[in-house]
Symmetry: C2
Subunit: 196 residues, 2 copies
DNA sequence: GCGCTACTATGACCACTGTCATAGTCGGCT
DNA sequence: AGCCGACTATGACAGTGGTCATAGTAGCGC
């Protein structure tokens, strides 16, 4: 996931996202980001003249694009594409990560929203945009599975909301139970939307 | 909601929860809490010898008890108690708050989880306990409405997860759309669990 | 060689954090 | 009155945050 062979700028954005996932926006320092990215500290002000706000916003945007791109990958991995299968795959990414890596990390977009929604408006907008770039391909995938166009966007919102909440609870409990539970409970509803 | 007539200790716990709701745990300072509670700064170390960690944990526990107690209130407010109606009432608390107060505040338990799940284990446990004290009366309410005992807990987890995620998205978008959407989409599933 | 740009390297600044130490005040008990 | 516990009031400490200023280096066109 890391791919060390990228420019220092990209590495810093990536590291910022990774550190925000852990402890939130306020708890991640600029110096810490540079160190984690093995990038010179002086490059921070050079690549991100807008300061921390710019760096955080780019990290959030990056996370949104990443989540959006994953939807396509999940679709390819499903032999029999169904809404519930897609949702299960989305959740499985987290259960897998938690299974072998501990429960240290959450969703960076959620962290940015919690920490910046009331203070930094640009970051809040970045988070909203990230959710949108995640939701769009998801709704498109649902339509491709036979979900009526009018239900695709609402169901995508439901899926993302439920997943985000389950991630929260799973981290708090240090147990994947919430993730597996919502997959099991929400699956039938999602599949029932096909051809209806 | 404030009720200024309480001891300074309770006021500080309450203020801590309120400030954590806004900007997260790391961004809320002890001095800020004392000032917000109109309590003397010297009382912090007197009432909370465990420092910030203790204060935050108590704020999270308080939030959990508050959410749990609200379930009963919502039930009383429903003339025809149904799972979907209860879920709608839970979400309405947030849409009401966002309608006339802006989107400044989120759930303190979510904020504590995001900020402390990987660093402060005691706070993480407090968050898990808060979710539990919220989930228990909710599951009990569902059973009271005719939901089979085996489905009550999973459905309660689903409801809380979905609500938490919708709160997140609503704050990011500065729009109650996610909240109203998940209420509309999840309602039928919840009601279908009655007598089945 | 010069000059220019891209990038790196440090050190300093001020604001602020959580925590501790110390002194002060108040009320009630005996 | 004296005393003692609960609580309040402040100041100081060491650490860290983001940001700025300044100087240095590498590479390239000329």
């Amino acid at each position: 996931m890391t791919e060390a062979r990228r420019g220092p700028r990209e590495r810093m954005v990536f590291s910022a996202a990774q550190l925000i996932r852990r402890g939130g926006v306020t708890a991640t320092g600029m110096r810490e980001v540079a160190e984690h990215a093995q990038a010179p500290r002086g490059s921070l002000q050079h690549y991100f003249p807008g300061g921390k706000e710019q760096l955080v916003n780019e990290a959030v945007e990056w996370a949104g694009r990443y989540a959006g791109r994953r939807i396509g990958r999940f679709l390819e991995g499903l032999e029999q594409p169904t809404p519930s299968g897609l949702f299960a795959a989305m959740a499985a990414q987290w259960t897998d990560e938690y299974a072998d890596g501990g429960f240290a990390t959450g969703c960076p977009v959620a962290a940015a929203t919690v920490d910046c929604a009331s203070t930094g408006d640009s970051t809040r907008q970045a988070a909203a945009a990230a959710f949108a770039t995640w939701r769009a391909p998801l709704a498109e995938a649902l339509r491709g599975m036979g979900v009526p166009a009018a239900r695709a966007e609402p169901l995508a919102t439901l899926m993302i909301s439920t997943l985000e909440g389950a991630i929260l609870m799973a981290r708090a409990e240090r147990d994947v139970r919430p993730l597996t539970t919502v997959v099991r409970e929400l699956g039938p509803l999602l599949d029932a939307a096909v051809h209806s």
